[in-house]
Structures are given as structure tokens and as C-alpha cells.
Amino acid sequence: MSPPRCGAELNRGLHEAMAAFPAMYVLGEDVLDPYGGAFKITRGLSEAFPDRVITTPISEASLFGVAAGMAIRGLRPVLEIMFGDFITLGFDQIVNGISKFREMYDDQVTLPLVVRTPMGGRRGYGPTHSQSLEKFLMGVPNIRMVAASEVHDLAGLMTAAVADDDPVFLIENKVMYGRPNLRPVDGRIGELDVTESGGPSPALTFSGSGFTEAAATLVAYGGMVPIALEAATALIMEHEVFCEVVAISGLLPLDLDPVLASLSRSGVVVTLEEGTLTGGIGAEIAARVQEQGWDDLRRPVVRVAARDGIIPSAPTLEDAVLPGVAHVTRAVLGAVGARA
């Protein structure tokens, strides 16, 4: 049986959560059937649960606050933001509202809301529809952030997000939607051994079968996971360099333990992100890894990220600025001191 697509699994998670949580509502632009959202992740929901799916005007700034108000009064809103690029419109509501209410109001309220949004490029959509802006959420206190990737239990991530009593930002990925949701079978995905941690935001650690040491630890999330895995395979095949890949989903709180565990075997950490370098998620990972894993580090943490700039529309330009397999292998080879 071929694995289901990631988009379908996220959709299944939404259906399951709607059935499980009577207080759950889905809202967003164009979420109604038969369209079911620009990426079809909400498909079938408005037919199955007509009273709990709300299509909205193009009013992102307010929609975050509307979700907050619903949540404060006991509903479980799941807000779809059509492109992750548009979370910037709601940034005041995120930083000065969603992030604050529970703590500022002395824990008199809770905010069980989910914001789902696709990030990422590689589809030629151009500068305003291709970004990976989760970096800006990384600095927001009191929220959770989960990055979905194609090796995670996507329906499970979705239901866990809805079940959470705190605000959860679920970062999805445009390219991922159409790809198969690969799950470990007998502790393996493809040629690689996999161990998966527990909790609502598990990490998967990939290693060469039977290897207990590694030349480097690649930390990836979201759309960089398949690229990390491809790079790891290329590094084995073409350079006999064996890496571990840690595919994290917990960005807030940052799930560092599996990274540190892998570091203890490799001595080298390379962080991968599709967002632009400066002020990115890799900075926080690097800062923590050098702090908490200092004794295991054999050399500085290396960050692989997009060039600091726009994401151009022309495919040739986009390919050049976004980190791809070649960027990753080059960075790893540089870090482990091997020749490219």
C-alpha cells in the first residue's frame, strides 16, 4: 500500500479532531467545500460539519484576534492562514494578544487555539508567497510552535495541536502537501534506521543502519527534512560520510534533547532551515547547542539557511537562494573537514 499524501493526512487529522472536539471550529479564507482551502487541507469539513466551518473575509490581522476571543470563551478555533507569508499581518495580535492573555490575565483564561499555515518556497510563487517566516514566531513567548514534516505522524500532530490548551502554531509546508507521508516501518524509513521520541511534538532521529557513530548531526524541520535525508544519503553514497538526521517538530518549546543526544555521537551539528539566515531558528539552536553541548562539540555549529534577501520568482534564482541538497552536502563536508 503506498503511503497517503501529507495533505491528506493533515486533512484526516482535522476530520478526526472535529469529531473528537465539539468545541472545535475551523476558520479561514476559502475553506468551504468544494474548494476546501487553497491547498485543500480543509476539504470535506464544511460538508461534514457545516456549523463549525467559517469562511472569512481577507482580514488576517483580525482573524488572529477573533480566534483568540473564541478560545478565551471556550471554543477551540483552528485558523488557516492561506500562506505563511501573511502571519505578518496578524503579528500584533500574536505578540500583544495571543502570547499575553493567559499570563497577563493571571491565568484566568486559556487560549486553546491552533493557527495552521503553509510556509516555504520552491514553487515559483515569488517573494510574498514563498517565505519561511516561522523564525518570527520563535521569539514569541507563551506559544507553542510545531513544524510538520513528511516523516511525522501528521494526523497525530494535528489532533495533538487541537487538544492543547495553549496556542499552537502548526507550520506546514507547501511542497510537503503533495508528497507521501513516510512513516517508520520496523524502525526504518527507506535505508535508514529511525528512532522516534514521544509527546505531542516528536523528533525522529535517522542514522545509517547499524552505525553508532556519525560524522555530523543534521538538524532539520519542515521542508528541510527531505533535503536533509537526501543529503545524508548522498553523503554516504558519494563521500562515505555518515550523518545522523534529527527531524524535529517541536520548535517552541525547542526540542533539543534528541539533538544533544546525536551530538554526543557525532561531535558536529549542522542546522538546516529554509528561512533566511540572520535571526533564524538555526541561531537559537546554535546558541543552545554550544551552551548545552559544549563538551561534545568538536567545532562550531554550522547553519545552512536561505540567503538573507528576497526569494525571487524565477525558478533559477529561487533555486540559487534557497538551501538545497548541494548546499547541505557542501556545508557538511566543510564541517567534517572532508573534500567536496
Binding site: Y25, I54, T56, P57, S59, A61, S62, L63, F64, G65, V66, A67, A68, G69, M70, A71, I72, R73, G74, L75, P77, D92, Q93, N96, G97, K100, F101, E103, M104, Y105, D106, D107, Q108, V109
Partner: protein, 301 residues
């Protein structure tokens, strides 16, 4: 406010007035730090509108200038005083301070306009709950500059939310006169989004109470509405920042809410109401003073 009628409303306004005057005194004595925005001169809005709210059911969302709304809705003088004083017994244990309050269906935030989407979501949740609750959100004239207000007027209209927008137009946003900041009129802005609107230019709590009653009924029937009130702020924007012509301000003291409503009361009765309110305030302040200074607990550490 459970008690109702002109006497209760006078007393309610008086309580707010004295509470805020006390705060300003404490600030000028250096007993308080941070900021505060008093509604002195605008008490009739809080008392007139909130008199129609059902405690334990309706929801009230307010802004930086929220003390009057808070007191009118919750009666919780001690909690508010302690909050402004940074005491652990404060409404939010000292976390929020003057502009960030929450209690029993009352919420404020210090970012202009930011609370309107929150109110819209609350109204949506209440509509879904189906127990007849309405939500009232207070904004000032200056806050009409924020786009979120119109996003929410639109959604409230489309979704038929039981949401009452109250615009307290006190003619200024901080130092900016309304003419430099607001084009057109408030009722027109509401109606442009298919939201019904009423307008009243008054500091008479009875007049405001009457118009508010009509709008509240309208909202309870399941349609949003805007109530636009022309009023005036008699003290500084926050503590001492006032660049208005003193003569302009002085002239407005003649029609301040306590003068208007108080003139209708028998003098002895008025004095008794005031004495009673003074006693309530003194007790509340004593409670607040007795509350320990807030300390960082584990939850915040």
C-alpha cells in the same frame, strides 16, 4: 451594577470619579508608578451603557481608559486599586496594571484597536453558546484610525454577531483633535458596513442609558450595532500631558456627568449617596493597601 435607577447611576459615577481622583493624587504624591488614563468627565458612558449588561453573562471589552468600565461592570474597587498599586491582591496579581485587566467576562488591553478582534471572537463564541449573552467593546475616537475596527465591523455584520461597539468620542486622541484624525462620521462608518448606529452627544447618564438600552436590545436580538457618544475628557490624557486650551476644558466642567445627574437629586440624598460611596472606596483602598507587594511566584519565574 445590579442596583439600577438614577440614584444608583449617580452613585456609580461618583465612585468612579473618586476612585480616579484618588489615583491621580497618589501619582502626584509619587505613590504610584507606571501610567494611568482616567475617564473623569466620561463616567456617564460607562455607567449608562454597562447598566444594561447582565453580570455573569455578558462580556465587556475595554481599552487603556478602562477603570470606569471595570468598576461599573465588576464593582471590584479593591482589586483594581491593588492592581494599579502592584499588589498581589490585584485583579491580575499585578501582572497587568492599569491597562490590562481581566475579571469575570471583562477584558482590556493597551494596544489601541487590538481588542476589537478579541471582542469579535468573544461575540462569536457567545452566539454559538446560544445563551443570549452580548459583548460590548469600548473604543475611543482616536482608535477609529485602526483598520482592525473595520475588519471587525464587516465580520460582525456578515456573521450577525451580538456585538455592541461603543465609540467614546472625547474629541481627542492623546493630543490630537478629532478633526485631524477622523474623516467622516462614526454612524456613517458603521452603516457603510451594514451595522446600525445611534448617536448621542451628551454627558447625561440618563440620556445615554436610554439610548444604550435601545442598542442593547437591538444587539440582543442578534445584530451588531454601534453606539457613538460625544463626550469630553476633563483631565489629562494620562497623568499630566495636556496641551488643550484651559478655557476649553474649564467650559466643559459645567456639564460634567456628576453635575448633570447630581442636579436632579435632592441635596441630602446626594450627600448620603456620596458618603456611602466614599465609605465603600475607603474600605476598598484599605484592602488594597493591606495586600502584599506582588512577588515573582513560580508560575512567573
Amino acid at each position: 451594577m445590579t442596583a439600577s435607577g438614577p440614584e444608583a447611576r449617580y452613585r456609580g459615577m461618583y465612585l468612579i470619579r473618586r476612585f480616579e481622583e484618588t489615583l491621580l493624587d497618589m501619582f502626584s504624591q509619587g505613590l504610584l508608578v507606571g501610567t494611568t488614563h482616567t475617564c473623569i468627565g466620561q463616567e456617564a458612558d460607562a455607567v449608562g451603557v454597562i447598566g444594561h449588561m447582565r453580570p455573569g453573562l455578558d462580556q465587556v471589552v475595554s481599552n487603556h481608559r478602562c477603570h470606569g468600565h471595570y468598576i461599573a461592570f465588576t464593582g471590584d474597587l479593591a482589586g483594581l486599586a491593588a492592581e494599579v498599586m502592584g499588589r498581589s491582591g490585584g485583579t491580575c496579581s499585578g501582572r497587568g496594571g492599569s491597562q490590562h485587566l481581566c475579571r469575570d467576562g471583562f477584558y482590556t488591553n493597551g494596544v489601541q484597536g487590538s481588542i476589537v478582534p478579541l471582542a469579535t471572537g468573544i461575540a462569536l463564541a457567545e452566539r454559538e453558546r446560544g445563551d443570549g449573552a452580548i459583548t460590548t467593546v469600548f473604543i475611543g475616537d482616536g482608535t477609529l484610525g485602526q483598520g482592525a475596527v473595520y475588519e471587525c465591523l464587516n465580520m460582525a455584520s456578515l456573521w450577525r454577531l451580538p456585538l455592541l461597539f461603543v465609540v467614546e468620542n472625547n474629541r481627542y486622541a492623546q493630543t490630537t483633535p478629532v478633526e485631524l484624525a477622523v474623516a467622516g462620521t462614526v454612524p456613517d462608518r458603521a452603516r457603510a458596513f451594514g451595522v446600525d448606529a445611534a448617536h448621542v452627544a451628551s454627558t447625561d447618564v440618563e440620556e445615554i442609558h436610554a439610548v444604550a438600552g435601545e442598542m442593547v436590545e437591538h444587539v440582543r436580538s442578534g445584530r451588531p450595532a454601534v453606539l457613538s457618544i460625544d463626550t469630553y475628557r476633563l483631565r489629562a490624557h494620562s497623568k499630566g500631558d495636556d496641551v488643550r486650551d484651559p478655557a476649553e476644558v474649564d467650559a466643559r466642567w459645567a456639564t460634567e456627568p456628576l453635575a448633570v445627574a447630581g442636579a436632579r437629586l435632592d441635596a441630602a440624598r446626594r450627600a448620603a449617596l456620596e458618603a456611602d460611596a466614599d465609605r465603600e472606596l475607603a474600605e476598598a483602598l484599605a484592602v488594597a493597601h493591606a495586600s502584599p507587594v506582588a512577588v515573582l511566584d513560580e508560575a512567573l519565574a
